[in-house]
Symmetry: C2
Subunit: 345 residues, 2 copies
Amino acid sequence: MTITDVARHAKVSRQTVSNVINAPELVREGTRRRVLESIEALGYRASQAARQMRTGRSRLIATRIEPAEDGINGTIHDRFLHGLTESAAGFGYRVLLYTAHDDQSEIAAVDDLLAAYEPDAFVLTGTHHGDVRTAWLAERRLPFVTFGRPWSMPEGPSHPWVDVDGAAGTAAATRHLLDTGHRRIGFIGWPTGSGVGDDRRAGWARTLAAAGVDPAGLDRTTDDGVATGEKAAGDLLDADRPATALLCASDSLALGASHAALSRGGGWRADGGGGTPIAVIGFDDTSVARATGLTSVSQPLSEAAACCVALLARILDGDEASAGEDGSATTRVLLQPSLVRRQSA
Amino acid sequence: MTITDVARHAKVSRQTVSNVINAPELVREGTRRRVLESIEALGYRASQAARQMRTGRSRLIATRIEPAEDGINGTIHDRFLHGLTESAAGFGYRVLLYTAHDDQSEIAAVDDLLAAYEPDAFVLTGTHHGDVRTAWLAERRLPFVTFGRPWSMPEGPSHPWVDVDGAAGTAAATRHLLDTGHRRIGFIGWPTGSGVGDDRRAGWARTLAAAGVDPAGLDRTTDDGVATGEKAAGDLLDADRPATALLCASDSLALGASHAALSRGGGWRADGGGGTPIAVIGFDDTSVARATGLTSVSQPLSEAAACCVALLARILDGDEASAGEDGSATTRVLLQPSLVRRQSA
DNA sequence: TTGAAAGCGCTAACAT
DNA sequence: ATGTTAGCGCTTTCAA
């Protein structure tokens, strides 16, 4: 089933069929309809390989699939990937997967892919300080978008990115806790330097400051995990001036925190028990949060994925009309997360 | 960077370079080394598109990415996908994604993909009774493997598949509970007819039978979910002859069950409280199980993915030598799950 | 063992 | 508005 078959069926030349597909305005109405009917009748679809040879475009977007590392937080990558695949299809692109375990091996994987499959663009996730991947891609003038801000851009021209405003998320969560009457709102986050983590902490800190609450002794730093979260929460709850609410940088930490609250008789699951229950809020709205009734900050992942694809489509399919003055005006998207309220806060 | 550049660099004809890559035994040692050096030096890799035009092989494996539906159990698909991508790369294949929301739309997606990208094979997940996808693919003689048994094959020739022996998993879990002294071991599973669910229930039932334990009043059927699991577990725990252990068809159900146990003071998290704690075991060893200390039956997902790829590679790269008498001897793989013991049982 | 010729299906440039 | 020509990079004959 080739373009020649269609041409024969529609009694036109091969080229006319090609024109109907790629430059319909060049073909007379009647001819076009006849060709389209033939295409329909024969169920023809252009071979991507042949097309790629000619045009140099593969209509493939490559992205890395992560090992679902930590388990709880890994699930968000899954949702992002699904959104990406769906949105890409809408623009006539397909998603090609590769694996890697660090920046360097990802560069190697990208290089490999490039030579063989020539993906038109890349979507990078998990940007971090000192990310060498973006520079590598930028140097080679390869089209790409990151899901995640460039956390350490030494000035210079940036690249297109989509991200979720984590600080706004924790700020909203903190505000909610303040509104519920809490003053001693603890924060359990990751060690300084992680970009994402610092951002989330910042939203909490600035909201507390704006409300005139002293954050002294309310900030805890720990690696991600349920056990570490439980320990840090224990710290905050057993302090001289104990926290009454715990905001966490991840659902893993929050799950641990709610265990700590529970074992001290102040958890939201400990029905009754006297006094206001200890509030706990997580981040990412993972399956665990949904399943356990944990209030959590939710990232609009499908939307983020859709933005990534839209950005790429604009770059690749060169919609000149929408390019800003400097061409970079709308290549940065910061999406707002939302607080999903459940039983825990 | 084409094969011509390499030929020039190595001072041989284009064809010889191609032979070095595709039929090394035809090329004299010295020439081959020289060509390989040129390939290395230039960083050449064959264009997949051009190769595909000639050979009709895309070295692409297509699979569906699911919407991470239920949340908790969806994460296993993620892990499978990662394994698939990694294993495929080992055989020189890449994984191409598509989405669909039911059998019919999946067939449409596959059909679409086929015409444009010509993937060499498909990996189908989530087989079920009355699955129309496999028949569709088989009719067209398209290479594919399913992760999941054909649950309703009306005799006839089957297709290659890889699955995990769910019954063996629940059997092992039941045996473990029996060994720990439990006799009243309840099972909370999905409504009859789901293949996977029936299988898991069967392992429990036959192990109880083998131990001479009467299963009367110990079997509960409910849709998947945390809330439904909690309710069913409540039923079993509040019965005249209450269950002392709860085996569940999923981690979602198990999570609900452990909540029920907890609220009745018999949960494994209720330290002390007198008497043996109520044991709970889940299925799939998801992040939730890991995070909450839930004992769960673990599926070897990377291995399953590796088997899928290996099966496909054998079919596609036609390793005649390893083909059995009837060619189907080793196209069905049933992997054994393992019980991951944690605090809950 | 190596090289030359042909052609996979498509589209960009040019000719009609 | 439609048709003709050429060639993308590769591999499969076939010839040397």
